[in-house]
Amino acid sequence: MADSITASATVPIPERVDRRVWVAVFLMLLFALVPLYAWLADDVYVLTYFGRMLIFALAAVGLNLILGFGAMASLGHAMYFGFGAYTVGILSTWGFTNGWLHLSVALVVTVLIAIPVGWIALRTRGMAFIMITLAFAQLFFYVFVSLRAFGGDEGLSLTELSGFGALTGNKYAIYLSLLLTLVLVLWFTHRLVKSRFGLVLRASRHNEPRLNALGTASQPYRLVAYVFSAQICAVAGFFMANLTGFVSPSLMSWLISAEFMVMVLLGGMGTVFGPVIGAAGLLLIEDGLKTVTEHWPLILGPLIVLAVIWLRQGLWGLMAPSGGKAASSADQGDH
């Protein structure tokens, strides 16, 4: 992971060996051991449980790409999550079961919708951006609620999952491909934020007028980041449909969008691996509290508020060697 940065540059950037890299590797290894446990204990449910965690982690990583690195607070990303899931539901209802077809259609549909939605939403900033992304998500939420042919508001149980030959519907295969996808997306994000594109995206978060004054019109870069981010969420939705065998409009509700956002905030905005910690953390805390009391949201709410106030770089920042103050290194992110 240690890139040989600035080999011949006059001032080499000091390579910090961040202990958090080991935390990330350890956590991913734990996730990789889940199928082994499931196989030994003959307990497929754990695959669904941890698979759901990975799906949320994937979506949070996607949202973080624009929220954390580009300061675009979208409260509508559940929409793309839903597109991914409904693509599987609708196509298999129509009799198209090829898994690669499902994935391709999900990505294409997402691009076709994310470009105009992003183009409109990105003309605004801050609260207006939040509200416009929310409005679009609600629009599609009600569209899917009214689609009687696909279950309406009650959702749709899938008779057939995305077909991948002998692996179709195999929980182990779904889980492992999901884990692999998450690793690839994390690696992609890690490279992306350090690339020329990433430099522009991160600069747009802090000082957009300067960027424009330098001759780099920021809007196209922000739009491309938005589309990437939407696609990652769509892939997460594609996995959600296959893991649970069920799609419903509730996947697209604003509560899911908010959950993605909380995961990013809790894990660490603008860090590559933070959202994974945030997703795992939030779901574990939720489930832990649920076993204690049925009024668990009463406890969870204040907990999140405190976490966001105290942990400026989230749980990931808390683990930083310098105790969460390393805004610059966190901004770069390490995976």
Binding site: D3, I5, T6, A7, S8, A9, T10, V11, I13, P14, F188, R191, L192, K194, S195, R196, F197, G198, L199, V200, R202, A203, H206, N207, P209, R210, L211, N212, A213, L214, G215, T216, A217, Y221, V224, A327, S328, D331
Partner: protein, 261 residues
């Protein structure tokens, strides 16, 4: 365009020509039919009391603020309706009165941002920018040129103000502009830092045309080929430093006796 004491060679158009530019904020006329020009290799200083409209004029020239009327030409090409980014790509570059660096970036990253802005599109998603050897070396060269020290990978927010000021100028240079619009580069600098900044700008005069907004009269008289005096949005006078220095008009309107020995 008024008298142009600066020697204009042949019939080449001026690097920058501002023709009767106007800007109102409500009832207040902050830029009142301003005419101005900058030739290649010229340092044209723009002075005037606080609130005279100097920064607004820079913002109009760069496109950050839309003008109500008038025209702006860059090497004879009209750019009045162009976006800020397009003007920048055409060869205009500015520095800011108050540092406008990306605070969480290092000095090197800030200058890299400017270097890569001058090198085509940035839709390169996968290769770390620090591995783009040519660009990194170019960024280091600009930092060398402005005399920036060794803290190049530290966050600029943690740097001394004078150092940030140098990064500001390095960024303005790094997009390979023809015209530099410098908004009070001496602001906030100590005496020795000011001396160095004057030397730096003097060493750049061969490569750029410069419009220099500055309050530091020592710097203005040391550097300027021509001086325009802006008062209440109007160009009161445009002349050589020697003539501006003895002008009663300017003395009354702005300078005050103590500023001129």
């Amino acid at each position: 365009m008024g008298a142009a004491p600066f020697e204009v060679t042949g019939n080449e158009p001026m690097l920058l020509t501002v023709d009767s530019l106007v800007k109102h904020y409500g009832g207040l006329c902050v830029t009142d039919h301003v005419n101005l020009s900058v030739a290649q290799g010229e340092i044209h200083a723009l002075i005037g009391p606080n609130g005279a409209g100097k920064t607004t004029l820079i913002n109009q020239i760069t496109g950050a603020v839309a003008s109500d009327s008038g025209r702006i030409y860059l090497s004879g090409q009209e750019v009045t309706t162009w976006s800020m980014a397009k003007r920048a790509r055409a060869g205009m570059s500015r520095s800011y009165q108050i540092n406008a660096l990306v605070a969480s970036f290092s000095a090197l990253e800030n200058v890299l941002l400017a270097v890569q802005a001058g090198r085509g599109h940035n839709f390169h998603f996968f290769k770390p920018v620090m591995q783009e050897q040519q660009m990194v070396q170019a960024a280091h060269a600009f930092l060398d040129r402005v005399g920036f020290g060794d803290d190049r990978s530290q966050r600029v927010a943690a740097l001394a103000y004078g150092q940030q000021r140098l990064v500001e100028v390095a960024m303005a240079m790094a997009t390979h502009p023809r015209l530099l619009l410098l908004d009070e580069p001496m602001a906030g600098l100590g005496p020795t830092e000011s001396e160095r900044m004057i030397e730096l700008l003097d060493s750049l005069r061969a490569d750029y045309g410069m419009l220099l907004v500055e309050h530091d009269m020592q710097a203005v008289f040391a550097l300027a080929d021509r001086i325009s005096v802006l008062v209440y949005g109007q160009v009161l006078l445009c002349d050589t430093p020697a003539n501006v220095r003895v002008s009663e008009l300017v003395r009354e309107a702005y300078l005050g006796d103590e500023d001129l020995q």
